[in-house]
Amino acid sequence: MAASSTVIPIPPTDPFSAFLVSRAEPVDLPDLELESEVLDRLRAEGIVLVVPLVSEGRLLGTVNLGPRKSEQDYTNDDRSLLSTLASQLAPAVRLASLAKQQEDEAAERERIEQELRVARIIQQTLLPKNLPEVSGWEVSAHYQPAREVGGDFYDVLETGDGRLVIIEGDVTDKGVPAALVMATCRAALRSAVELTSDPGEILSRTNNALVDDIPPTMFVTCFVGVVEPSSGRIRFANAGHPVPAVAGPGGASELRASGMPLGLIKDSPYEVVEAELVPDSVMVVASDGVAEAHGHDGSMYGFDRVLETVTAGRDGDPIDALLEDIDGFAAFQEDDITVVSLRRLASAAQSAEAFGSPLLEFEVPSQEGAERAAMEKVVAAAGELGLDEPRAAKLGTAVAEAVMNAAEHGNGFDSGIPVGIVLHERGDSVVVEVSDDGGGLDGDLVAPDLEAKLDGAQSPRGWGRFLIEKLVDETTDRRENGRHILEMRMRKVGP
């Protein structure tokens, strides 16, 4: 027998393949009449006998033989031996190829599992560990990854001027590529929030950063809401993310704003819409894993049901209500489920009702000594509103310090720019707002330390803001109509 090492593939479309399966026994080539390219090639290689390896009706391969060395034809005994060999070889080859296939599949599964683990780690590392605490408000979030981790993320940030930024996004695609784009997007959003508190600008800056950085087939949907805790005013923009639902005492509403998903088209515009989160209302931002969950009958959960469930669950925890309802509805969890909720507490409602018109509103010039007059007016008004003498004195000193800071740091002692003082009664508290034309606090304030001051490591001054924080119950910085406002709240009765 002549052995040849040439491998001649037999495509299943070649007629010779079907012929071999049908015969399933050694085939003499010289007498065979068949139009086949494979046959021509075999003959050209000098093959005279082909023994097919067939198992379960499938051609696994062939043993190809050249002419016998004795130059005699193959005998019937030869053929019978080869036939027996082939019939035993075929299942063994089939088994080996199945084993190989299973091994490959197991390795692929392990690779996918490994990738999922990496994706999960990236994602969970980047989600916020703690949410900011804002008096009168409650922020909650729930993130539930699907088995095949999607690209959901959320972030809740506090700006320097005391606003709350609620962000929720979803990267197309899954696994590690999605997790990496999510990391890029989160970083871009965070640096945009450092620069601006305009939700439209936050999104357009992030969009422009992403367009250059992510693969053209990928994009990110994202909602950004910027909330002013003192007024409940929310300004928001949306890059194609599901519409947030708001449930309040007056019923349900939707926070709709138009905009393209992030990462697709440079300089896409983002509409900015303003709304008010009234006391005792809750806003819920739910990723598409919620509205697009499929039920056992193939139907979709849908946005209307999100709105209904949030409205029904307004008094309790709307996130729990939503998760419970989806759990009962969906056949299984296909996609990540991310829900962020922001509730304005009802107690703030009563205070807001009592907010009314200011009891005292005046201006003082930005010059040294002006704070004394402001202090005396505030102490007198606070006394009339029922603050006891020590608390009124503390509030007075805090206001004096705030007026001094406003006159000096905010208005640069420009006597043409006044410092504004407004006093409200709000619930169980007296609230004083001091406004100036400055940019508010820049950066972190260094806490004054007496030892450092005595050693000359700190200036002997710099006590103002520290005292304010220590003297009143709560301070909030914010910007309004280009003015910086420091709000100081003092409860009428001490703890």
């Binding site: 040294e368 000594g369 004394r372 000193t397 005595l454 002997p460 001054r461 710099g462 006590w463 005292l467």
Partner: protein, 107 residues
């Protein structure tokens, strides 16, 4: 608004009016006049107003006292300013007494 007045009586400086950053010349010269005995008691009984720049000035005065090894004490603080001494921890560096007599007895 009333400027700071400082009446020196031995080692006692009786303050009146407003203690602010602008009071530096008045307080500095009163401190110098009173520091001969090695102890200066600042009597705040007549004080009308003090702000954070006034606290800054007290820190400056305290630095001066420490350099010249003079003991600086405070007396006659109202409850309000007593609390501000405590918030700023000034009371840990400047012993606070209810009255000038108590301060002098402790000196």
């Amino acid at each position: 608004m009333a400027d700071l007045t400082a009446e020196v009586d031995g080692g006692v400086v009786r303050l009146g009016g407003d203690l602010t950053g602008n009071s530096e010349p008045t307080l500095a010269s009163a401190f110098d006049d009173a520091s001969g005995s090695g102890t200066v008691v600042l009597d705040f009984t007549g004080l009308e107003y003090m702000n954070s720049t006034g606290i800054g000035l007290l820190v400056t005065t305290l630095v001066r006292a420490q350099r010249s090894e003079v003991t600086l004490m405070a007396a006659g603080l109202s409850d309000h300013y007593r609390e501000i001494f405590s918030l700023t921890r000034l009371d840990e560096a400047i012993p606070v007494h209810a009255t000038v007599e108590e301060a002098l007895a402790a000196a």
